[in-house]
């Protein structure tokens, strides 16, 4: 049995990758001897993780020879600061949740006054042209957060890279042809189907309403402004519309937050830290809107959780979203006519309940076929074995 050192944020940390690990770890632990290295565990975490050994990351350096492989869950946020440092010092397999890490790397280097470190990362990424760009940025040019992924230092050291979409796999392979890269599905358990009327009563949502849900941390890329404008117009035609907002607020200002109090058809439930409860909210909804523009090559766990709950999702016509089936995930092109497109999609599902039901069934089927945590864990093991055999 493989002995794996697993680095990740875990609940109660408020990040999608913590939830990801909570879903994956029990399955992975049934196929390998897993030690979780995390400095953020609580009694709650340890009770949900069962038999998995939990150790502090600083213990890894001395015990690293005891593991067949180190696995690093890496995302574009400060939750991963320690994980990134360990992955640089002790390379292993990196699970890249975001194709670009520029926000993160800039924050932990230049953002903390260490410009030379940022300069070196930029140079690793783009050679001397990268160095020139770094100096320009220091002198006031805008930071190319989406154009330059700033992952070369991490990918170049890693013995393998796992990503969650074909889109991200191709991007990484093109930029780093010498790297071993593979795609695995996100582990999303299928929640048991519950009666919508029952859930709405339980959650205090009007039973006959047409409920549109948005979830996740409200960053500008999620285009909540577009959703807000669309729903304002849509509700003029369909007064039974309710907007269910779940998720925390980003550091960047959320412009519509103050107007929510003026709209009695907006239910703001804030950050839902319990996945079961999130699943209830998703299942109680008719449609989920999950836009990302620009995208940093990530797959959206909240989009997948909505599909697993049988709720069709309107997505952006970008990146990984294009790999989702169109009947349950129609796409909005970000060309200035987003509200018109979004309204038309909502209208089709509002007026044709049979069409909506078919989309709902397709969503759940897609998740049952492709995203089961057990299969993801098997794919992890297969990839690790292939890396250790020098394949891929």
């Amino acid at each position: 049995m493989l002995r794996l050192a697993y680095f990740s944020p875990v609940p109660p940390q408020r990040t999608g990758i913590a939830d990801y690990s909570a879903d994956l770890l029990p399955q992975l632990a049934s196929l390998a001897d897993v030690t979780l290295f995390s400095d953020s565990t609580s009694q709650h975490t340890e009770s949900t993780l069962g038999d998995i050994t939990v150790r502090h990351p600083r213990e890894f350096q001395e015990s690293r020879w005891n593991y067949d492989m180190a696995l690093y869950q890496m995302g574009n946020s400060l939750h991963h600061t320690g994980i990134y440092a360990t992955a640089i010092r002790n390379p292993g397999i990196v699970v890249l949740h975001d194709y670009t890490l520029h926000h993160f790397v800039a924050s932990v280097t230049a953002g903390k006054g260490d410009f030379p470190k940022y300069l070196r990362e930029m140079t690793l990424e783009q050679g001397m042209e990268g160095a020139r760009r770094a100096w320009q940025i220091k002198n006031g040019a805008p930071t190319p957060l989406y154009d330059i992924p700033l992952t070369a230092g991490l990918i170049g050291r890693s013995v393998g890279i796992l990503v969650h979409s074909e889109y991200a796999r191709q991007l990484v392979s093109q930029r780093h042809p010498r790297s071993r890269v593979a795609q695995v599905s996100q582990p999303i358990p299928l929640p048991p189907l519950l009666d919508k009327s029952y859930l709405r009563t339980k959650l205090d949502i009007p039973r006959e309403a047409f409920v549109v849900i948005t979830c996740g941390i409200n960053t500008p890329e999620k285009r909540i402004d577009v959703v807000s404008d669309t729903l304002d117009a849509f509700r003029e035609l369909h007064p039974d519309t309710i907007w269910l907002k779940s998720g925390g607020k980003a550091a960047e200002a959320v412009p519509e937050a103050t107007t929510d109090s003026l709209r009695d058809w907006v239910i703001n439930v804030g950050y839902v830290d319990n996945l079961q409860k999130l699943s209830d909210y998703l299942m109680a909804s008719d449609v989920c809107i999950n836009l990302r523009h620009p995208t940093s090559g990530e797959t959206s766990a909240s989009c997948l959780r909505a599909l697993a709950s049988g709720t069709p999702v309107v997505v952006s016509d970008e990146g990984w979203y294009r790999e989702l089936p169109f009947d349950c995930c129609p796409r909005v092109v970000h060309n200035g006519t987003e509200t018109v497109q979004l309204e038309a999609i909502l209208d089709s599902w509002h007026s044709d309940r049979a069409l909506h039901l078919a989309a709902s069934r397709s969503a759940r089927q897609h998740m049952a076929d492709n995203f089961q945590p057990r299969n993801t864990a098997s794919a992890y093991i297969e990839f690790i074995e292939s890396v250790l055999r020098y394949e891929v």
């Binding site: 020879w65 140079t123 020139r132």
Partner: protein
Amino acid sequence: MLLNTHLLAELKNRQEIHERSFVSGAPIIGPLIVWIRTLWNNIATRWYVLPLVQQQNEFNRQLVATLEDIREHLAALEENLADLDSDQMDSAKDIAETRYQLIRLRKDIQGIEAKQADTDIDQDEVQC
């Protein structure tokens, strides 16, 4: 680059300081004012200021030349550092892969030793 070529070119353009001719915008008596000031300058200050200007120009030329040398040196260092970082990245990956292979080999050897120990016990039992 800390000392970019544009900035250095700008400094080089301005490294020489020059005497300036007197001018006056006063109507009619303007040329007279200029003549008097020039005359006074030639008598009282020019002989003293010109060597200072030359000294300053020489200093400026040397300073700009030194900055150009430093810029070239820094550029070379930056490129060397980039090469070193790239090599270090490859080495880190190689070392990690070697470590994982060693761990695997050690595990395989332990397996073989365990099997060998079992075989030895079996043979001992047969001999007994």
